[in-house]
């Protein structure tokens, strides 16, 4: 029987990171993935990641996936695709289906990095074609270039629901509504805000009660829910949609760990049944590790670090690195993990609804939590979001009002005029009125697309607002249209006076629109005159 030093199951962020780490320590590693395409879910993450430079913040998931694959191949990791692991027997023996037969092989260490499956909810018509997981929609459009539908209802406002809704708009779909049974939007406020300003309505305390259609979805009915999360009769509202996307959380795929004899525990904060793990990611079976979403639902950045920790522990156990080397590595990895697990959206805060202010003591925007956008008055109250009485020239207005682990704005500003500090969940602050050179790097770097360059002295009576614009067609200088508010409502006429789309912006161009000075504190999106869309 073929024997490997390490077998990794799943070629996603956790699995590839584990494989690279192990190979760097000298282990012979093979990665099995059942898909014909490697990368797990990374290659459909076309948005920029949060975190710090060490977490590859402001790099798009798809690019991180390419980097991981290259690194894995470069160091001699064997990635076998179309290889479905069917079971793990005693003594770390694995049955894998490959090329039309089942083969058995054995490993000294196994890292299970099988990720998660999407949670579902039942409602009338939920089995109809056209009802699908939000991840399914993302796979179709971002990996395969096919729209899942034309008019979409998104159910669930966690980060998956918000990110996929935005990507649906980028793919040219109409997101008719985002509903969530909870009274608060579950994901990052910045993700909600970038959707809301394009005109997508949020219905919190609402759920989908019905998908209508005989052969496929032809419409849906949503309704308000009461405190017990059941629909309130009489509040039903029909929606003209052809696709329902479900984004109500993920569950770890613990079957293989269970099959291998690892002890499972039920942990709602981790998404359900997960293998009981040491802080090195080892299960109750010696030499069997879990990393990434299968170890508890988080996101790709922490999955990558978990993969490294597990692989380093395996390398130590197999005698490839010393215990002291391991401690040094693990210390760094765990610090990095702690950084990204901080803030109000940290795994430990999952489901909490009692957070009412930021770490700095600013009251959270109720409007952002309930409707997806900051009210004008609330925006003005945050340290970097207010327009204030600044002098001439452009300067950043940062509508970042929740403690999320992220600091690219501070990282890219060449003038040092944006301050987050070492604690990357802190709200950014503007340091020094005059420092901004208008380079717009922060606009392109902000993974939440929450930074605007505002200049109130552009022309007599007119100012400009520079905004991130990740849609096609990209407006051109001279284009006329409407300026939209944070809620997506039309405010006034606007003209594009500049577009910044160079390589440094990494496909987040800045569109600068001219608006009356009275509107620069409110105008946050541009809708071209000729376009009905976006």
């Amino acid at each position: 029987m073929k024997r490997y030093e390490m077998i990794v199951i799943g070629a996603g962020p956790a699995g590839l990171s584990a494989a690279i780490e192990a190979a760097q320590s000298g282990l012979e590693v093979v990665v099995f993935d059942e898909n014909e395409w490697p990368g797990g879910q990374l290659f459909k993450q076309i948005h920029k990641f949060f975190g710090s430079r060490e977490h590859q913040a402001r790099t798009r998931g798809v690019k991180i996936g390419q980097n991981l694959l290259e690194a894995a191949r470069g160091i001699g990791v064997k990635v076998v695709l179309g290889a479905t692991v069917l079971g793990i027997y005693k003594n770390k023996e694995i049955a894998v289906r490959l090329e039309g037969e089942v083969r058995n092989c054995k490993a000294d260490a196994i890292v299970i990095a099988t990720g998660a499956s999407e949670n579902m909810m039942t409602f009338d018509g939920w089995t109809l074609p056209g009802v699908m997981g939000a991840g399914a929609a993302q796979t179709l459009m971002n990996l395969h270039g096919v729209r899942p539908g034309k008019k979409i209802l998104m159910v669930g406002s966690g980060n998956v629901g918000l990110v996929v809704s935005f990507q649906l708009k980028q793919a040219g779909c109409d997101v008719v509504a985002v509903v969530d049974a909870a009274a608060r939007i579950g994901g990052y406020g910045v993700h909600a805000a970038k959707l809301a300003r394009t005109g997508v309505p949020f219905y919190t305390s609402h759920t989908v009660v019905k998908a209508v259609g005989a052969e496929k979805v032809e419409g849906a009915v949503i309704a308000e829910v009461g405190a017990d999360f059941t629909p309130i009769p009489g509040t039903e509202m029909p929606l003209d949609i052809d696709t329902v996307c479900i984004a109500v959380g993920l569950s770890p795929m613990s079957q293989l760990a269970d099959n291998a004899g690892a002890e499972l525990v039920y942990d709602p904060a981790k998404g359900g049944y997960v293998a009981a793990l040491t802080d090195e990611g080892e299960t109750s079976v010696k030499g069997l590790f879990c990393a990434g979403d299968v170890a508890g639902i988080e996101e790709a950045s922490s999955a990558m670090i978990q993969g490294k920790i597990a692989a380093a522990a395996a390398a130590r156990d197999l005698g490839y690195i010393t215990a002291a080397d391991f401690e040094t590595k693990a210390f760094g990895y765990k610090e990095s993990l702690a950084k990204i697990r901080a803030g109000m959206f940290a795994p430990g805060n999952k489901g909490r609804t009692d957070i009412v202010q930021t770490d700095e003591g600013y009251p959270l925007s109720e409007s952002l939590l309930a409707r997806g956008f900051l009210s004008d008055a609330e925006a003005a109250a945050f340290p970097a979001a207010g327009i204030g009485g600044g002098g001439g020239g452009p300067r950043p207005v940062i509508e970042c009002t929740q403690n999320i682990p992220c600091d690219p704005c501070q990282d890219v500003c060449p003038k040092g005029c944006i301050l987050v500090g070492d604690n990357i969940t802190a709200l950014p602050q503007i340091a020094g009125e005059k420092a901004c050179s208008g380079c717009a790097l922060c606009v392109g770097a902000c993974s939440g697309q929450a930074i605007f360059l505002v200049n109130e002295t552009y022309e007599d009576g007119y100012g400009t607002v520079g905004l991130p614009y990740e849609f096609v067609p990209l407006p051109q200088k001279g284009d006329k249209g409407r300026a939209l508010g944070r809620d997506g409502g039309e405010l006034c006429g606007a003209e594009v006076v500049e577009v910044r789309a160079g390589a440094a912006m990494d496909k987040t161009p800045m569109v600068v629109m001219k608006v009356p000075v009275s509107e620069i504190a409110r105008a946050r999106f541009f809708r071209p005159e000729s376009e009905g869309g976006i």
Binding site: E34, N35, E36, Q41, I46, R60, V62, S117, E118, T127, L128, P129, G130, V131, M132, G133, G135, A136, A137, T139, L140, M141, N142, L143, H144, G145, V146, R147, P148, Q170, A171, G172, E215, K216, M253, E470, F471, V472, P473, L474, K507
Partner: protein, 108 residues
């Protein structure tokens, strides 16, 4: 349903355009893309009808986990079309229960 122009993605890395058959009719798709993607691009939503209730099903998870998108591919039933790369000349058929549409069911 194909995305012609995307603000972030320049290239989906598609293979060449090939012919396959869908329920006996000629169809086109890109070699190597999942069969389910090629069908979605053509506007096909229903992949199969269920055994007991004879209800339509289509793409649900798109990553091989739910197995709702199974069809008969080259005569083999229960093939997950979201995981199966399209190949030239492939015969893809709507699955009815555990069989081809119209074929007699044996007792289940």
């Amino acid at each position: 349903m194909r995305i012609e122009k995307h603000p972030i993605i320049d290239d989906y890395g598609k293979g060449r355009l090939v012919c396959f058959s869908y329920n006996g009719d000629e169809a086109m798709g890109y070699e190597g893309e999942p069969v389910a993607a090629a069908l979605k691009a053509m506007g096909v939503d229903t992949h199969r009808y269920t055994v007991k209730r004879h209800e339509p099903r289509g793409i649900f998870c798109a990553i091989g986990r739910c197995t709702d998108c199974v069809m008969i591919v080259d005569g083999v039933p229960n093939v997950r079309t979201c995981m199966t790369p399209l190949a030239e000349g492939m015969a893809v058929e709507t699955q009815d229960g555990l069989r081809k549409a119209g074929e007699a069911h044996e007792a289940l």
